[in-house]
């Protein structure tokens, strides 16, 4: 088999979708199952061309339900696995995302958000799936979701997504938007040895003592893979530490579901990532993510030039939501503006955590993300 380099160390000019694919490969992903959909297709196309040359697998499935199901299978078979899609496909994946959460199958799901609902505006950007990422499947569970705002972050955060998925055995989502996915800009890929890679915890007990769903102190159970001599049972039914169904026990249900939530909630401080610019003395704050954060940064700088004490808090993790930090940043601010390409989604989280501070939503749908001028105007209006 022809062998190509897995980490393309160097300086590149690349699109976000391709950077995401390269990030996955650099993170050790060797299994991709997907289904074509605008604006995420280029991820699949690039991976389809790369995988045969690096000893990995690209499988084009018959739909997105099959794609995520194959990813869960591959994850349990022992590979780092991912899929990439957009809104309609993300909707189809939801039941299996619940299965991944319940069986604690580490996997990465990239959702390049376009305009919804339904078929919506396939070639235009949206940020309308961010609540779906958190709440899309039924039942209680927690996931991790990251929001890249540059081509560099499409690479970096895809690696981070794999590391988090492996650390916490949880489906991890890269919630990109069409602009970030399709734009081309500079990408620096560091030498392989400088890239931090995390692999799932492996059992350190002999097979006969292995309890597949017995958590350690971090609430995450070590994971054996199929065919390694650890005979175990994995199921979407409520199960005990042995993995066996416990469909009548309230104790088992409480214990398992609470742990699935707590392993993310109680580790949130370790997971949460955000970026602050001029927040310290800010009287008015912008909270933004994805491509919108780039426009927001420009608006905040312009506001400062005009004597408005503005600051930007950019969300890198959407879920878990950086509650403490928003609350703290909000303390000194008179107002918070949340520009989003939806009718008001993450703004509700900001409202919930900022409490005393007035929160204003700047909604923009279709066409293009909010412009720096539009955000600047909002800053000027609400700083009076």
């Amino acid at each position: 088999m022809a062998k190509e380099k897995t980490v393309l160390t160097g300086v590149h000019f690349m699109s976000g979708d391709i950077a995401c694919a390269e990030g996955a490969i650099a993170a050790g992903c060797r299994f991709f199952a997907g289904y074509p959909i605008t604006p995420a297709t280029e991820i699949a196309e690039h991976i389809a061309a790369r995988m045969p040359k690096i000893g990995g697998v690209y499988v084009q499935m018959e739909d997105e339900i099959a794609s995520i199901a194959a990813v869960i299978g591959a994850s349990y078979a022992g590979l780092k696995a991912m899929t990439a899609t957009s809104g309609p496909g993300f909707s189809l994946m939801q039941e299996n995302i619940g299965l991944a959460a319940m069986t604690e199958a580490p996997c990465v799901i990239v959702d390049v958000m376009r305009g919804g609902p339904s078929t919506g505006q396939p070639t235009l950007p949206g940020q309308q799936d961010v609540m779906q990422a958190k709440w899309g499947s039924h039942g209680d569970y927690e996931i991790i979701a990251l929001a890249p705002s540059s081509v560099q972050e499409m690479f970096d955060l895809t690696i981070e997504a794999f590391n988090l998925a492996e650390t916490y055995r949880v489906p991890t989502m890269v919630m990109a938007d069409e602009v970030v996915a399709h734009m081309w800009e500079k990408l620096v890929i560091p030498p392989a040895e400088e890239i931090k890679i995390v692999n799932r915890k492996r059992p350190n007990t002999p097979p006969e003592q292995y309890l597949p769903f017995m958590p350690e102190d971090d609430l995450v159970p070590p994971m054996a893979c199929f065919g390694e001599g650890y005979r175990f049972h994995a199921t979407g039914l409520t199960h005990d530490e042995h993995g066996y169904p416990q469909t009548q026990s309230s104790e088992a249900q409480t214990k398992l579901v609470q742990r699935l939530c707590d392993k993310i909630r109680k580790n949130a401080d370790k997971i949460v990532r955000f970026e602050e610019t001029m927040v310290e003395d800010a009287e008015i704050l912008v909270v933004a993510y994805g491509i919108v954060a780039r426009a927001a940064l420009s608006a905040v700088r312009k506001a400062r030039e005009n004597g408005i004490k503005a600051g930007l808090l950019r969300l890198v993790t959407l879920w878990p939501f950086p509650e403490k930090h928003i609350a703290k940043a909000a303390e000194g601010a008179k107002a918070i503006i949340v520009p989003e390409m939806n009718c008001g989604q993450m703004v509700r989280e900001v409202e919930r955590t900022a409490k005393e501070t007035s929160v204003f939503h700047l909604s923009k749908l279709g066409e293009e993300p909010p412009t720096p001028m539009e955000i600047f105007e909002a800053l000027r209006r609400h700083s009076k």
């Binding site: 022809a2 045969p52 084009q60 018959e62 997105e64």
Partner: protein, 321 residues
């Protein structure tokens, strides 16, 4: 079962109002667009069309225009047939209860290969199993052309697509085309047929039969795509003839389980010297270009062998050979 054949002349067709109208944004040489026009030439009365996401949906409905001069509903990618089931069942009960005029309404579901072979097969299988009275038309351009040429279950062996790229490691798609029409035949529905736009009269006749028959009908239409096949836009209709002449895409119908060759293919069955080598069909398409290089040329013989084998199998089913 006997289905009465609709007799028509070229003049009848020319004079019949187009229900798929010009002004759409299909590419030059798009055979699927021709297929849409031909399908609607066969309509016999009030008709509702429901269509899965795909090239034809996109190019024919760009705001603020539509090419569809009849009730037309866009559905999600996976469920044209389920959508048609709902339309058909609702119309039926409303007629029965006297809520709408008591006249027959035809329902046509249209989908591309993605919306039929892959994501759409569950809905299709369910709808024909339940026996809804509707016609499902598959326009098969053998890949996901709308999103930029990704392989589908309908992509033939050896074709290069963006997700089965021919290169150093693989010779294009490694898997065979799914026998979709035979899969539907196995559901034991009243009418299944294949058609090709070069044989336009045959195609229109088959659409009409599919509408006239009671219960589900399935029509598999061959539809060359010059962008995806890397072929000359001027040759799309020629390709749809070559596919039949090389027996890559034979024309047949299956009425209540009885297979019957349609005349363009029957001519070849009767005079096998008329059967053209598959190479002639492959050579004019860029998606098979790599098969004509030393590295992959062995696959050419393999494709010929498989084509012959399938043709023989079909002849047997038709009681010839």
């Amino acid at each position: 079962m006997q289905i009465e054949e609709w007799k028509f002349t070229a003049k009848d067709i020319a004079e019949k109002t187009d229900l798929f109208m010009s002004g759409h944004r299909a590419c030059a040489g798009c055979a699927p667009a021709t297929v849409m026009r031909l399908i609607l030439k066969a309509v016999r009365g009030p008709t509702i069309v429901t269509m899965a996401t795909g090239c034809m949906e996109v190019v024919s409905t760009i705001y603020p225009y539509t090419s569809w001069a009849l009730p037309w509903l866009h559905t999600a990618f996976e469920n044209a047939a389920a959508n048609a089931s709902g339309i058909e069942a609702a119309i039926k009960i409303m007629r029965k209860k006297g809520r709408i005029k008591d006249e027959h309404v035809d329902v046509i579901a249209i989908a591309g290969d993605g919306g039929t072979y892959d994501i759409g097969i569950q809905a299709l299988s369910g709808a024909v199993e339940r026996g809804h009275d509707f016609l499902f038309v598959l326009y098969d351009n053998e890949a996901y052309m709308n999103t930029g040429i990704q392989r589908s279950g309908g992509t033939p062996l050896g074709a290069s697509t963006t997700t089965s790229p021919a290169g150093e490691v693989i010779p294009g798609k490694l898997e065979a085309k799914k026998p979709i029409a035979d899969i539907i035949v196995a559901h034991e529905i009243p009418y299944v047929a294949t058609a090709s736009p070069y044989y336009w009269r045959n195609l229109i006749t088959k659409v009409r039969k599919g509408l006239e028959v009671e219960g589900p009908a399935f029509l598999h239409v061959f539809a060359p795509c010059p962008r995806g096949w890397r072929s000359d836009p001027a040759k799309s209709i020629e390709l749809s003839r070559l596919a039949v002449e090389t027996c890559v895409f034979p024309l047949w119908e299956c009425i209540s389980g009885e297979y019957k060759l349609s005349s363009p293919s029957k001519v070849i069955a009767m005079a096998p010297q008329k059967k053209k080598p598959v190479k002639e069909y492959l050579a004019v398409q860029g998606r098979f270009r790599h098969l004509f290089t030393p590295k992959y040329e062995k696959l050419l013989d393999e494709i010929q062998r498989i084509t012959d084998q399938k043709w023989q199998k079909l002849l047997k089913k038709c009681g010839i050979a």
